[in-house]
């Protein structure tokens, strides 16, 4: 599995398709969190939202950077296409580490927050982890092997991102961002955000399986 993840990340890196989503992420952070003076967790609500959008894009780019025939070759060498999907999910999470670290660090450096504690960083990291799981789920389900037409794939991805960001009852992204922005202490929101991150991990496992089954029908 390590070999698959390394291969995916190498292909993504060489394709340079990582640049637009990371640039977008950085712009969002710069515009929305620079010189914030409120609680750090509210800045993290913005950063986690930006990480979510960036993560969807990175995951889809990671899968789509390989040609369909190349993907089939990798599937045979890995011992089955479903293993490639598992590798994609892990590689997607690894790729999300970039916007997550940016999102955790930038508000601390560029903002004027009254206090920065380890607990706040920890809660921020948990929120990033949950949003990364949701992002990779959407990215996999809107990648080329699942939705063949590029236009339809982009529309589906945008629709999924908007729904997850805005609709109250769809976990875990909206709920996580709301908790972060509520102005409560890190200790107060730590547990529910950890629960949402765990839910995100379950969602990712289910979506990886769904993408694999859906793509394998061909």
């Amino acid at each position: 599995m390590t070999a698959l993840v390394r291969y995916r990340l190498a292909v993504l890196l060489h394709s340079q398709r990582w640049l637009p989503p990371l640039f977008l992420n950085l712009v969002a952070l710069a515009v929305l969190t620079s010189s914030d003076s409120g609680p750090l967790l509210s800045s993290y609500a913005v950063a986690a939202g930006a990480e979510f959008v960036c993560g969807v894009w990175l995951t889809a780019a990671l899968v789509n950077a390989e040609s369909p025939v190349g993907r089939a070759v990798t599937g045979v060498n890995a011992g089955g296409p479903e293993r490639v999907w598992a590798g994609d999910a892990l590689a997607g999470l690894a790729a999300c580490a970039a916007p997550a670290v940016l999102g955790l660090g930038y508000p601390v450096v560029a903002g004027n927050h009254p206090s920065v504690t380890a607990a706040q960083l920890g809660v921020g990291a948990l929120a990033m982890a949950g949003c990364a799981c949701a992002a990779v789920s959407v990215g996999l389900l809107t990648s080329r092997p699942v939705i063949g037409r590029p236009g339809a794939a982009v529309l589906a991805a945008v629709a999924a991102v908007v729904l997850l960001l805005l609709v109250t009852w769809i976990p875990p992204v909206h709920e996580t961002l709301t908790l972060l922005a509520a102005g409560r202490t890190a200790a107060g929101v730590g547990l529910p955000i950890a629960g949402l991150a765990a839910g995100g991990a379950v969602l990712l496992a289910l979506c990886t399986l769904a993408a694999s089954r859906r793509a394998g029908r061909g």
């Binding site: 070999a3 390394r6 292909v11 040609s67 025939v69 045979v76 890995a78």
Partner: protein, 251 residues
């Protein structure tokens, strides 16, 4: 000999209302066998091969005993990756379970044998069809496959590379692997041949091309069984690589 892979009643239909591509295919391939599947364009050869390699799920029927590792050479291999051919092969070798240094060594040796023009450092996306086909061939044998599936492997390869391909097929079969390939006849000399027509598989007359046994010396002795059509290419390639020919014998 016991079959390495056995397809039973394999059928495939793309979409519910489409005409089925394959109807109830039964096929057994034993260790050391080289099976050719022939048929017109669009007769379902590639689909059958993808099912045997485990890439496509059949609509009905089963494939039993698919061994590991499988090597699959696609019909066309248009890579979009900007990785170099060497880096790509090292990654694929690691995915096949090799350690990084072993993968590097094996990839370099295969590319040298196949004489990749432009070198191993060329980005994959810039390779010509023939050279991309060489990379496609190399990735399938990075570790010796127990089942080697080749879709139109002869197309696009130059004469020396065809000799190496014949060697690789003979080596795989010689070390107990099963080989299934498609061709339009003439290029390979398989141990069994089938004709795929109207979605059904029927035995085709086995090729009349005689087999030759070539014994190569050098660091280690190798015995190859190659069809007459490839005898000269295999011999000249072996000599060019500094091997000694110990004997050639018609079988």
């Amino acid at each position: 000999m016991a079959p390495v892979v056995r397809a039973r009643g394999v059928a495939k239909q793309y979409g519910r209302r489409a005409r089925p591509v394959l109807y109830g295919i039964d096929l057994e391939v034993a260790a050391g066998e080289v099976v050719a599947v022939r048929g017109a364009n669009g007769s379902g050869k590639s689909t059958l091969l993808r099912i045997l390699a485990g890439l496509t799920r059949p609509t009905a029927g089963t494939v039993d005993g698919r061994p590991r590792p499988v090597g699959w050479v696609p019909e066309r291999f248009p890579p979009s990756e900007r990785l170099s051919a060497a880096a790509y092969l090292v990654h694929q070798g690691r995915i096949r379970g090799l350690r990084a240094d072993a993968a590097r060594e094996r990839a370099a040796r295969l590319l040298e044998r196949l004489a990749l023009a432009g070198g191993a450092g060329t980005p994959m996306a810039r390779l010509s069809k023939g050279n991309a086909q060489k990379v496609a061939l190399a990735q399938a044998v990075l570790t010796p496959p127990a089942l080697l599936v080749l879709d139109e492997p002869w197309s696009g390869l130059d004469a020396p590379a065809r000799g190496v391909l014949a060697e690789l097929i003979a080596e795989t079969a010689g070390s107990g692997g099963a080989v299934v390939l498609t061709d339009h006849g003439g290029s390979a000399s398989p141990t069994a041949a089938y004709l795929l027509e109207g979605g059904r598989l029927a035995p085709a007359g086995a090729e009349a091309a005689p087999l030759y046994e070539i014994v190569l010396g050098g660091a280690e002795e190798t015995v190859l069984k190659v069809p007459a059509t490839h005898r000269d290419a295999v011999l000249s390639d072996a000599l060019a690589r500094g091997r000694t020919v110990l004997g050639v014998r018609a079988l």
